[in-house]
């Protein structure tokens, strides 16, 4: 590799050609502060709009300061990071940003977890020298995401996520100058836009401009209500990330402590979404095998590939943007909704609780789940199958508010019957996990042979689009995997063009799958955290004795006692759904 010589603050360094000043400085231990910059290494995404102007440095021979994040080092470049000019400029620019920001840190949702706040501390801002008009906007509440653009610093990270990674296109910069703001077109509400509530904008927002809709207070109220039986389910990805909020290393599994905390919080029954994930596999693989068999028998009407349907962000995405293909995804509901449907029927009967008196709470790594639970088709007489969805972050807040010392909690187990799950269920939390779980079951049912090696390494990883062919006893089954909606779009366009070779495709809206969900502890641009969470889920899978969904005894019992068989009438009623054409959903109302 070609290297070049540069000088930073009077010290000589050699760096590879093509390195940015920021990376060069980092590689030699010089810290240049950044605010809008974001680099998700493992996701191959760099966001450097050079808008915040915090990372400016002095380069000899240049008239103006240059942004370190987007300026490439050149041979012999002399860089100064510690001059009065640089320090004063950074501080002044930061003061400017603060001058257009509500100073309500103490009561802000992101207090203690805010990039702007940390930067103000690092730079030792103790004074507001510049004062003036502050931007004020109407707060926008959607079913999942809250927008408070007063707190937006125009870093535009959300735009990169929404437009480049997800290709949803719900957000863009509108208006000019001081009035410029990131918003849906015509400044309509998020709810009226094509937003899928994937929450990736929230996941990267450095301030509290984009946050989740907080349901903690309502949940506390229900916990305190003795007439209610409050049931909670926890999604697979939560256990791999919750610990981060309490000082654990990323990738620490805190399943037992989480369960204990939920019990301490007063939930009557602590169950596991992994159980419902196993149930999903039963239905989804049955559907796959049905379509596959018919296809192999020459039925031309069969729609293949089968697309997974457990990700609500992804469901919204194709409803909005690919409505012509809405009969291709599996009709199986997501694990969260399957859980809710079973809880308010089968479980309620078992416990002898009336539907109205049962409250189902989900702990999800996801914000779209908040929206999913509010969809009309998941309600019976107006009563939703899942009443409230809390994100991983909200659960952490709830635990902190309750004064529970998380670290010193003793491990606790999930309750029965809906707390029992397999290794297949837990890997739902990562990209590739759902399809791997489906393959484990589908293979055995299709070939009627026992699968000895359950680890499908070829389906794992962080590549945006992955593919693999699995030998179903002589029949090659082509599997595709995409995470990030922009990559899903690529596969969908292939299908639309009739060029797709796949039999089944797993799609997850969020980069990394649920481990990188919009409700997870913030990664602050460190994509290594996602890798650690992924690894944790595969570890959890491996630690499980039962690793195939159809071997879950509680699932077997559920079918025997209640549902009959996968794809039965009862299953259809409770575990399957249908999709809507939302291409006309966006209505531009004239003022």
């Amino acid at each position: 590799m070609d290297t070049i010589n540069i000088k930073i603050d009077n010290k000589n360094f050699q760096v590879p050609k093509g390195t940015s000043i920021l990376d060069a400085a980092k590689s030699v231990g010089v810290k240049i502060p950044t605010l809008c910059y974001m680099h998700l290494h493992d996701l191959n995404t760099t966001h450097k709009p050079t808008g915040c102007r915090i990372c400016v440095v002095e380069v000899e021979g240049r008239k103006n300061l240059v942004p370190a994040c987007a300026t490439e080092c050149t041979q012999g470049m002399v860089i100064k990071n510690q001059t009065i000019r640089v320090l004063n400029s950074r501080k002044t620019v930061l003061e400017l940003i603060l001058s257009d920001h509500p100073s309500d840190c103490l009561i802000c949702a992101k207090n203690g977890d805010c990039d702007l706040q940390s930067m103000a501390q690092e730079m030792g801002i103790r004074h507001y020298h510049y004062k003036g008009e502050k931007s004020t906007y109407i707060k926008d509440r959607s079913p999942a995401i809250r927008r408070d653009m007063d707190k937006c610093i125009s870093c535009r990270r959300c735009l990169t996520m929404c437009n480049d990674i997800q290709t949803v296109g719900a957000l863009s910069a509108i208006n000019r100058g001081f009035m410029s703001v990131v918003a849906p077109a015509f400044q309509m509400n998020l709810e009226e836009s094509v937003c899928t509530y994937c929450g990736q904008c929230v996941a990267v927002c450095p301030t509290a401009a984009l946050t989740e809709i907080d349901h903690t207070k309502t949940v506390i109220r229900h916990l305190a209500d003795p007439s209610k039986t409050v049931v909670v389910q926890t999604a697979p990805a939560v256990r791999a990330a919750l610990g981060e909020e309490f000082g654990y290393e990323p990738g620490t599994l805190v399943t037992g402590k989480m369960t204990a905390a939920l019990k301490d919080l007063g939930f009557d029954h602590v169950f596991d979404t992994d159980f419902a994930a196993d149930l999903t596999i039963m239905e989804e693989s049955a559907e796959l095998l049905d379509r596959l068999t018919r296809h192999l028998n020459g039925d031309k009407t069969v729609k293949l590939p089968l697309l997974t349907s457990c990700c609500p962000g992804w469901v919204s995405f194709f409803e909005h943007q690919f409505p012509d293909m809405k009969d291709i995804p599996s009709t199986a509901r997501s694990p969260q909704q399957m859980f809710g449907a079973i809880a308010k029927t089968y479980l309620a009967d078992k416990l002898g609780v009336k539907r109205e008196d049962m409250v189902v709470v989900s702990i999800m790594p996801c914000l779209a789940k908040k929206y999913e639970s509010s969809r009309d088709e998941f309600k019976t007489n107006g009563n939703p199958d899942v009443d409230f969805v809390l994100s991983t972050r909200e659960l952490a807040r709830l635990i902190k508010q309750a004064g529970i010392d998380f670290k010193s909690l003793e491990h606790a187990d999930f309750d029965h019957p809906m707390g029992e799950s397999t290794g297949a269920g837990v890997i739902f939390g990562t990209t590739g996990g759902v399809i791997e779980a489906a393959v484990r079951t589908a293979y055995e049912i299709f070939t009627k042979q026992k699968l000895h090696k359950v680890d499908f390494q070829q389906l794992r990883g962080m590549e945006w689009i992955r593919e693999s062919t699995i030998d179903f006893n002589g029949i090659p089954i082509k599997i595709g995997i995409a995470h990030g909606l922009g990559n899903a779009r690529k596969l969908l366009e292939e299908i639309r063009a009739g060029k797709s070779q796949y039999h089944a495709i797993e799609i997850m809206a969020c980069p990394g799958g649920c481990i990188g969900g919009g409700g997870q502890p913030l990664h602050h641009g460190d994509s290594n955290i996602l890798l650690a969470r992924q690894k944790a889920l595969y570890t959890a899978d491996k630690a499980n004795i039962i690793r195939k969904s159809h071997e879950n005894p509680s699932i077997k019992k559920l079918y025997a006692e209640f549902l009959g068989s996968p794809m039965s009438k009862k299953s259809h009623e409770l575990l399957h759904t249908h999709y809507f054409d939302k291409s006309n959903h966006v209505k531009i109302t004239e003022e």
């Binding site: 490439e72 000019r85 400029s89 940003i97 008009e133 910069a173 000019r176 001081f178 410029s180």
Partner: protein, 590 residues
Amino acid sequence: MSIKFRKNLLVCSGKSCQDASNFDLVDFINTKLKDYNLEHEIQAVQSVCFNKCTIGPNMIVYPDNVEYSTITKDDIDDIIIEHLLNNRIVERLVYNDKNKFSGTNKKQYRIALRNCGFIDPEEIKDYIENDGYDALAKCLTEFTPEAATQEIIKSGLRGRGGGGFPTGIKWEITSKSISDQKYVVCNADEGDPGAFMDRSILEGDPHSIIEAMAICGYCIGANKGIVYIRAEYPLAIKRLKIALEQAKDYGLLGKNIFGTNFEFTIDIKYGAGAFVCGEETALIHSMEGLRGEPTLKPPYPSVSGYLEKPTNVNNVETFASIPAIINKGAAWYSSIGTEKSKGTKVFALAGKINNVGLIEVPMGTTLREVIYDIGGGIVDGKKFKAVQTGGPSGGCLTEKHLDFPIDFDSLTAAGSMMGSGGMIVMDEDDCMVAMAKFYLEFTVEESCGKCAPCRIGNKRLHEMLTKICDDNGTLEDLDLMRNLGVVIKDTSLCGLGQTSPNPILSTMVNFYDEYHAHVVDHKCPSGQCTSFLKYYIDKENCIGCLVCARNCPVNAIFGEKKKLHIINREICIKCGICMEKCKFDAIYLK
């Protein structure tokens, strides 16, 4: 028909000439001519002001083109006897100037505007008649692309859009970028307040732009051109469209131009009038259908521009000069102007100047010549105070800069810039703080909002200026403003933010006393900022009737019957009711 009189005396009708003569010069001369029995051979007529107000009254003897200045009644006999009867020029009255282009009314030299006002812009034949498309023919048949580019490099032409980057070098860089597709873009997104040379050129001589773009295409290896033009220029768009059709019909655009292999077509794209879209990266984004926001350079458009292909962006005025350079040669062009700024520059004169208009002068012409000789001096003979060059991104030049030769580098050195060539002249009645505020208002409005220093910083600067103009400023504000101005310049993403504090910074250097007066003495020296005006009671006129005191809504007026009243300015809200109610003109505003 030919001109009837043997000689005509054109007498300047400008206000200052008339003021200076204090009598009707035309009338006086015609009466005198009668005395000499010349009334059938010679006549005097009024002419539109011809710009030499400081040395008026002025007149020109036509067709001799001899110009007499500072003439008095007593000089008329001399002129008639010596010049008109004996053909001897009255040397003592002849206007004399040191500049080589003057003396005979030749301060202006029109290269970019060579056809504007002379040809019918909707008629290609008019353009062809005036050497049109010769330059393109010459390039295609006599020059290699490299040689034609070299010619532009040698001419020393620099970008007229504001940056002043050498045009030929830009072409050379783009020509060296390797790609299957390249573009020539004409930047007609003229946005500076008060600048309209690009519109005038497109409205007056659209074919010169088409020809120049084709030449550029030939030089850099592009076969597609795009004119990015403001949608607010409907006439320019209409004429450009007509010109494009005509050029196509004549085979001057399309395939096999002049029988060669060269192919070139031009499209039009419309801008919505955002100032920042004059910045080339923002312009390209706008053309691509994206939000018109700048991005960091490099990569420069010459490497990765429109649709990520190498793109050469030049301004209208730059293109308009190209055919003349090719036709007359680089040596000719580089003989005009100063050492580092060759050729001529079009300026739009505006503000408190007599001859508001579009002028083109050689680089190196002094500000004095532009303002007094061409611009006709300051309206109402007031005192010149400053001129803002470079529009909202420029700075102000003052009296001490009057004899400055104007070129790219001298303006930058003086803390201003060439910009696109707007010149707004200010006189003694203009408050420089209010002027800076006016320009900041523009940049605040036009900032795209992408980078923090420009988005928030300019807003804060404007707020501080408003505070100062409203008599609420402090010395601390001045320090903060200076720091902020420097930081905004130093840290902003694009040219807009990097220059937007110039009006403040340059007035703070040149007119610090005015800022000081606003915040310390609580006075606006020019009287423009009305917040500083205060109500006073005239000792002579006040009869002590108490009407004002009774009507004052805040009880700010004190006094006893038949005694002089006093206004307490701490309480006064300047509503003006007292002045309205006083029947004795005893209350005045100052």
